[in-house]
Amino acid sequence: MSGLRRVRRFIGDHVVLAGGILVLAYMFLPIAIVMLMSFNDNSHSRNVYAFRGFTWNNWTGVCKPDGMCQSVLLSIEIGALATVVATILGTLAAFALVRHEFRGRSIMNTVIFLPMASPEIVMGSSLLALFVASGFGGRLGFVTILIAHVMFCLSFVIVTVKARLSGLDQNLEQAAMDLYASESVTFWRVTFPLVLPGIAAAAMLSFSLSFDDFIITNLNAGQRLTFPMFVWGANQRGVPMQVNVIGTVMFLISLLIVVGNMMATRKKPA
């Protein structure tokens, strides 16, 4: 290889890598701003789009803005419930789709993809149309939000658990059966523990989808206010800086879970 070619190769390699890192920096810029603004002291100014000075007050008085912490609690409550329901139903469905033959299996495989490929505004307005047509138009609230969240989380749970389940080495189950384990013992001692990481990943995914959803929720929430709806409403009056504290905390918790998970799986070779 000639020297010139090697130089060009070196530049080519590093230009691509540098470009990639620039793109990542672009993706992180808003998060850095959110973190920075969580320490912004804007008590003397109504301009919420400039950094005026450092303060801990947003962190110590997180719940000062009216209704914000209630909305966070509501989002956590809905997220937890939706996650439990979607994870259970989705895991059962994933087992059916991977491990059992039944009529309509291929149709179901298609149907579970559709919610992930439909625009949220259309799903949200369809669901609202259903609620109104069936006389629940005046009773939108906790239950209708929950129904909507389970609906859009289900597909993601099914796909995630399915991926884990179909990658499973069935020889392990055969081995357990050969060693006289009954079918249920095999399931609980072999199959389930092996699928569990997939189920856990699905649960985390559905909690974060539920916690963050705005478009579908906004149409079906009635008078209830989830955290994204609070932020949306606050935007019209000027967003309280404490919103950035919640954003920062969300980011750090998720990062901790993902990094912790990576460390844990790295220790024991799968």
């Binding site: 990639g20 998060i31 059962l92 149309a129 906004n218 993902v258």
Partner: protein
């Protein structure tokens, strides 16, 4: 273990019912809503009067936002494809042992709320902010030029918010490419550029198709970026649908516009898949 037909049914049933009742049937409700007599209201109830005129009237009134939805989403998807390809390629081929770490960084923006991230773009692009000032200094923007409340800001927001949906499928298909194929191209005297065009890129097309769909569809339905970063002049179809449903209570028009948006997206997606030639996406 593929046994006992009935077990499969029972395991599938709850999820299937949930999706049938709360995902499939609502599309019929939406279609019915779009044919409501516009005279009705939430309180007095609506009648399905096969009022096809709703569609005509919605197209007349809102073809601007509808067109903008498709146009903004297409531009944002194209930018995502270029930028996302660069990032996915860098992670798949140049990152070495940092691969997994960089992948976590790609999904990390999802860890904070969509709305909060979009609001922070409002600050980045603000009128007296760093970006606007530098662009004014470079005379790319006039001295009273701004980015907020322009299509540029809305499209930038869309690109930012949906970029990971492009990067992940692209990465998945780039990562699977056998490096020996690219080396073989080099051994046969193909320049790196030619090797990329003839080997790497064609093998990554399925990822590019999946990525463009995953970016275009949510972007065309989005209204958060248009609302937070744009002005009423940048209203997209989503803004109008949301407003008609929650503020105006004009369910008939909102339903009709939703149906039209969905129909256009389905047709575009089908045409696109046919042209791109990958039927085995799912």
């Amino acid at each position: 273990m593929r046994s006992r037909r009935l077990t499969g049914y029972w395991l599938m049933l709850p999820a299937a019912l949930w999706l049938a009742i709360f995902f499939v049937i609502p599309f019929y409700s939406l279609l019915a809503t779009s044919l409501y007599d516009p005279q009705g209201s939430v309180l007095t109830g609506y009648d399905v009067t096969y009022h096809f005129h709703n569609f005509v009237h919605v197209l007349q009134d809102f073809w601007g936002p509808l067109w903008r939805s498709l146009w903004y989403a297409a531009v944002a998807t194209a930018i995502c494809l270029v930028v996302g390809y660069l990032l996915a390629y860098a992670i798949a081929f140049k990152a070495g042992r940092w691969r997994n770490f960089l992948l976590v960084l790609v999904i990390a923006p999802f860890f904070t709320s969509f709305l909060i991230r979009t609001l922070s773009w409002k600050l980045i692009l603000a009128d007296d902010g760093f970006v606007v000032n530098s662009l004014q200094f470079l005379h790319i923007l006039g001295s009273d030029g701004r980015l907020l409340a322009t299509p540029v800001a809305v499209i930038a927001g869309l690109v930012y918010n949906f970029l990971p949906f492009m990067v992940l499928p692209l990465y998945a298909s780039l990562e699977k490419i056998d490096h020996r194929l690219i080396e073989a191209a080099g051994d046969l005297y193909a320049s790196p550029a030619r090797g990329f065009l003839k080997v790497t890129f064609p093998l990554s097309v399925p990822g590019a198709v999946a990525g463009t769909l995953l970016t275009f569809i949510p972007a065309a339905g989005d209204y958060i970026n248009a609302q937070l970063l744009g002005s009423p002049n940048q209203r997209m179809a989503g803004n109008v649908i949301q407003q008609l449903f929650t503020d105006t209570g004009d369910y008939a028009s909102a339903g009709a516009l939703s149906v039209i948006l969905m129909a256009i997206i389905v047709i575009l997606v089908m045409m696109y898949i046919r042209v791109a030639g990958t039927e085995d996406l799912v």
